[in-house]
Amino acid sequence: MTQNYPLYLIALLPFLGAALNLLFGRRLGNGIVSLIACGAVAGAALVATKAVWILGHDLPTKGMLVDQFFEKDWITAGDLHVAAGLMLDRLSAVMVLIVTWIALLIHIYATGYMEHEPDYARFFGYLNLFTGSMLILVLGDSLPVTFVGWEGVGLCSYLLIGFWYQEDKNATAGRKAFIVNRVGDFGFLLGICLLWTLLGTVKYAEMGSLLNELRRPFWMGWPAGYWVAVFLFIGCMGKSAQIPLYVWLPDAMAGPTPVSALIHAATMVTAGVYVVARTHGIFDITPSAAQMLVSGIGAITALMAATIGIVQRDFKKVLAYSTVSQLGFMFVGVGSGAYVAGIMHLMTHAFFKAGLFLGAGSVMHAMGGEGDITKMGGLGKHMPITRWTFFVYCLAIAGIFPFAGFFSKDAILAGAFASKFVMADTANPTQQMLINLYPKFLWGTLTLAAFCTAFYMWRLYFMVFTGTFRGTHEQEHHLHESPPEMTLPLVVLAVGAVLSGLIGVPAVMSHGLPESVQHFTGFFEHWLVPAIVPASPEPHGHALEWGLMAGATIISIAGIGLAASLYRGGISKAAENVKNSLQPVYALLWNKYFVDELYDLVLVRPLKMLARVLWRVADAVIVDGGLTKVGPALVGWFGTRTRRLQNGDVQRYLIAVVLGAAAVLFLSTFWLPYRGVQGSITKEGRRVNLVLGEGKVPNNRLVYRIDWDGDGKFDEENVRHAEKGFFHDYQNAGTFRIVVEAHDPDWHVGKSSADWILGARKPLSVTVE
């Protein structure tokens, strides 16, 4: 089942490349830097491919390759043992291939795109660092190891978004990405902790058999598994830019375009999808509230981002929202149990979205960095390769047969439509009906999103590549096709965007084809099911499935058609009219539903305010003031007063001596009666003994009055203490209050036990039977 394989090389090679480039890159030429960077990734890709080959060829379906970075455990703390282990199973194999090969392509692309960058080496260092971290993420054999990669890619994302740090905007965008991701990581971390708390392990391979533990009710009526899933999904929301944590991704476009392609489209942002698939056992636990949450968030995100994408003018922003939207698709896939569909969309999306970004980079490269699509137009004739590859990508993302997007998106739609959510038995009919309707809601939302997708992608395509150029003359003069190191990846990715879907053709379509072809077209499903993830739910009946496919295609074509009618040959009057007539909607979309502003208002500002208040008020005044100002001030005040007593008048000193002497006299006599009424009580039948005075020595200098029965009259008066103390024989049973008064005849001071609590600090009373 498991076999050792030096998987660490896959992650280590990019890290080495990063180390070399970051440490010494400034001294090396660009050529060597790119050689190191690309070489490292290529090496990783080759090793990874070899490993996947072994996995697919030599091992059974559930087999995996394993490896450990260190002999010993990575973290050992009491009963917690986390190994720095890597594992390659069929799910991570998909990811590893995507990551290494697409990273390689983008590295190659970047050698062209970034050639004029002074910080060339740093860029490639980061990029390699990212690749390594991403590989750790996908290869990690336990949640903590995944988390290491998870955070690592977050760091690289931060660094690369802020790569051009001289501009505050970029740095801020990077910071935003990191912090929003951290919010997600908060959940992720809690998920890990909760999981470990419940299962005692966080290793994927060990979790499966223990998952029943998670069915126990835990909190707020939901089972433990639900909460683990929710926490993990919060992490995924952050990393994969889902509502409400998607806000960082559009801003992240501040980074260089290859970065957007690699990190913010193809690989890193899909990590959330990967994690959900990886830990699907947790999400699958009934009741399927977690799945409903994941798919619901995915669906809404898909639609919302798609609608925003419709109106954006910045090339990369459109693509960014598109990414958010497509990630929503994937989450609907993995959330509704259609894991294969989700992962497959992840893969196809990696091809076409990376391609789209690279295409955007190519265009902006030609435009001198200009990203506003309203200033482009008619670029197709200047940049044919870019244009036609872009055309392919757009078809793919729009989901036109037989491009990759068609198969994967269709699988998701079908999966969503067919999904079954199970809730607690007690769900009342209304709830049950809503639950039953939920798959339809998902399907409907996604279909709408698919329409928007088709529309905005083609709007983009038409506005950029068709019509007439709307930019400046100078820009027009410089328009050119990009160099081969940039166009080559475009072409390769375009090929991928065309073909990658073919390994995941739905069974219904391949039905009747030759066995070998079926084997190929169902490859993706065979690869993942049942090795890692359960099979996607299939809609009941072929007709329904065909119908869904047809519907999706029609919707997409409608979207393309609408885009063509409005933007073919530039921004048409009709487009302007639509915009003007729907001004409020447009404004809402243009401002991205004011989510950033909302966050600013609800979170950022209050937090800043709170920080200031805590500092200036709580810390400076209350805490510090209370501890370091009040006390010393008080002491200081007394200090001054005390000094002032000493006014230099010697006769005052003498009076002080005499008063002091009086005080000494007073102090030394005053306490005696107090001590005299302290004592102890013992009972012998109805006889109660009372020994007064402190310690062993009876204070025979004092005289006492004793009221034995608490009636206010003293039973004994002016008695002195005998050796054995006082005693009283009670006639009747009952509880009696005893009052003792001590009196010092020499000094005429007295004290009563009524106001001086006797002995054990309890009112003096006695119960006799």
Binding site: G636, L645, G660, L667, W671, W747
Partner: protein, 520 residues
């Protein structure tokens, strides 16, 4: 009436001190001239500040080494005498008027060591301020003799005599800086209050004598239970108590102390803060902890002095520290701090009564540590604060930057201050540690210890203020010349010895602790 020759041997320290005092007086009288060298001038001509004639050594320079040698000899005798005590009890002499026991010898030793260090640090100061007089040494000797009488006293008569002999010498010493108004005022105040309290002491002794019919402490001890309840005895005893509290400068009988310590010549202040206090505590120990009340016979339950002492200890620690808090003059700050330390010592005394004999060691150790530290500190004060125009530069501002100007002195001062503040590894720390340890054995003393601790904290503040001034602050920009530290080998050596003792007792406290614990 018989006279036991052994008494001569047993009272040798006392006799030798007296004789030494006489010898020194004679030596002084037969020295050729009076003062040599210029006393300070009223005004310093600004243009000749560099050529300003420094006071030169007088012809009495040899007196200091002679005194030190004599004192060392006497110290040797004191160290030898414990061998003459057989058994647990002391040896009574002069018809039971004095007693020779290890306790008395140890306290005498502490006083003598303090005096030696004080004498070593004094002449440079005296010379610089134009008061180099042979009488100083003789008076120190006589005072010491009084202290020895007091610590060896076994009778109220000798108690009174000891107190008076000790005080008379110190009255004069306090006022020996004749040109200084402050010194005269200090002496006057000290004398007035002291004499007044002598009156109280005498009256108290008379009342006790009247009620018990004897002045012998051992007899009082055995008869006290019978008389304890009589107001006459009671009042008399409290008057005696009060007069000793005055000597140790406990609040509210302390008010003379800051003024006197502040105004007296610095070495004399040091002597008063240590020797007088040590001897007075020995007296308190003998009269109260031993005669009236150890925990065994629980006499304190009758006389209640522990309650009074409890309150006074709290007041003394607290007020002393609070008043020291804002002092600008280092000398005066030390004066108040010495009041506060009397409070800590009172804890030891109370522990003696409440906890028992195990408190003796801590009390004595604290006394020793305190003595060495304060003598050293006052030595440094005299050393570093000399003002060329006369008088002393004692304020914190004057001392700002002392760490740079005079690193050795400042370092020594730092050590002494840290010891006073109770920082390890100094004698002061171990003293406090030892003292609090024994006090904690009885829960009833816990509040006292906690207040002591709180006070330590306050005291840390003002001790550190001095260190802060010396090291952290730059000298205040001023046209006036800074203080000009004295240069004297004896002074430096004296301070060095004190500093080494402070550190040594902190690092290796056990021998002295054992010695103190065994000094019954």
């Amino acid at each position: 009436m018989t006279f036991d020759v052994a008494d001569l041997q047993n009272s040798a320290p006392l006799l030798l001190l007296t004789v030494a005092g006489l010898v020194l007086m004679l030596l002084d009288a037969f020295s050729r001239s009076k003062l040599v060298g210029a006393p300070y001038q009223k005004k310093m001509p600004a243009e000749t500040s560099e050529a300003y004639p420094l006071p030169v050594a007088g012809s009495r320079g040899y007196l200091m080494p002679v005194t030190v040698l004599l004192l060392l000899g006497i110290l040797a005798v004191v160290a030898w005498l414990p061998g003459q005590i057989h058994g647990d009890h002391g040896v009574f002499m002069y018809r039971d008027m004095l007693v020779l026991d290890r306790f008395g010898l140890l306290v005498s030793g502490i006083c003598i060591v303090g005096a030696i260090l004080g004498v070593m640090t004094a002449p440079a100061f005296l010379r610089a301020h134009g008061l180099e007089m042979g009488e100083y040494y003789a008076l120190v000797m006589f005072s010491l003799a009084g202290m020895v009488i007091l610590v060896m006293a076994a009778d109220l008569v000798t108690v009174f005599l000891g107190v008076e002999i000790m005080s008379l010498g110190v009255y004069v010493l306090a006022g020996m800086w004749r040109k200084s108004q402050r010194s005269a005022e200090a002496a006057m105040k000290y004398f007035l209050v002291g004499a007044f309290v002598s009156g109280l002491l005498l009256y108290g002794i008379a009342l006790v004598y009247g009620s018990v019919g004897t002045t012998l402490l051992s007899e009082i001890r055995s008869r006290a239970p019978v008389f304890a309840s009589r107001p006459l005895f009671y009042i008399g005893w409290m008057l005696i108590f009060v007069s000793f509290l005055f000597k140790v400068a406990a609040v509210p009988f302390h008010m003379w102390a800051p003024d006197t310590y502040d105004g007296a010549p610095t070495p004399v202040s040091g002597f008063m803060m240590t020797g007088v206090k040590a001897a007075a505590f020995a007296g308190l120990y003998r009269l109260f902890a031993v005669t009236l009340g150890d925990s065994q016979n629980a006499l304190q339950a009758y006389t209640g002095w522990v309650h009074a002492a409890y309150g006074i200890a709290i007041l003394t620690m607290t007020l002393g520290n609070l008043a020291a808090l804002h002092q600008e003059s280092i000398k005066r700050m030390l004066a108040y701090s010495s009041i506060a330390h009397a409070g800590y010592l009172l804890i030891g005394l109370i522990a003696m009564a409440v906890v028992g004999d195990s408190a003796r060691g801590p009390l004595l150790f604290y006394l020793a540590a305190y003595t060495v530290t304060v003598v050293g500190a006052m030595g440094v004060v005299g050393w570093l604060s000399r003002d060329l125009r006369g008088g002393e530069r004692l304020t914190l501002d004057d001392w700002a930057g002392m760490g740079q100007r005079h690193p050795a002195g400042a370092l020594a001062m730092t050590i002494f201050l840290l010891s006073l503040g109770g920082f390890p590894p100094t004698a002061g720390f171990f003293g406090k540690f030892y003292l609090f340890r024994v006090a904690l054995e009885k829960p009833s003393l816990l509040p006292l210890v906690l207040i002591g601790i709180a006070n330590s904290l306050i005291s840390v503040y003002y001790y550190l203020r001095v260190i802060t001034a010396m090291y952290f602050r730059a000298p205040a920009p001023s046209s006036e010349p800074a203080s000009e530290p004295l240069s004297s080998t004896a002074l430096s050596v004296g301070v060095l010895i004190a500093a080494l003792l402070v550190l040594g007792l902190g690092l290796m406290p056990e021998w002295l602790a054992n010695l103190c614990a065994a000094a019954n």
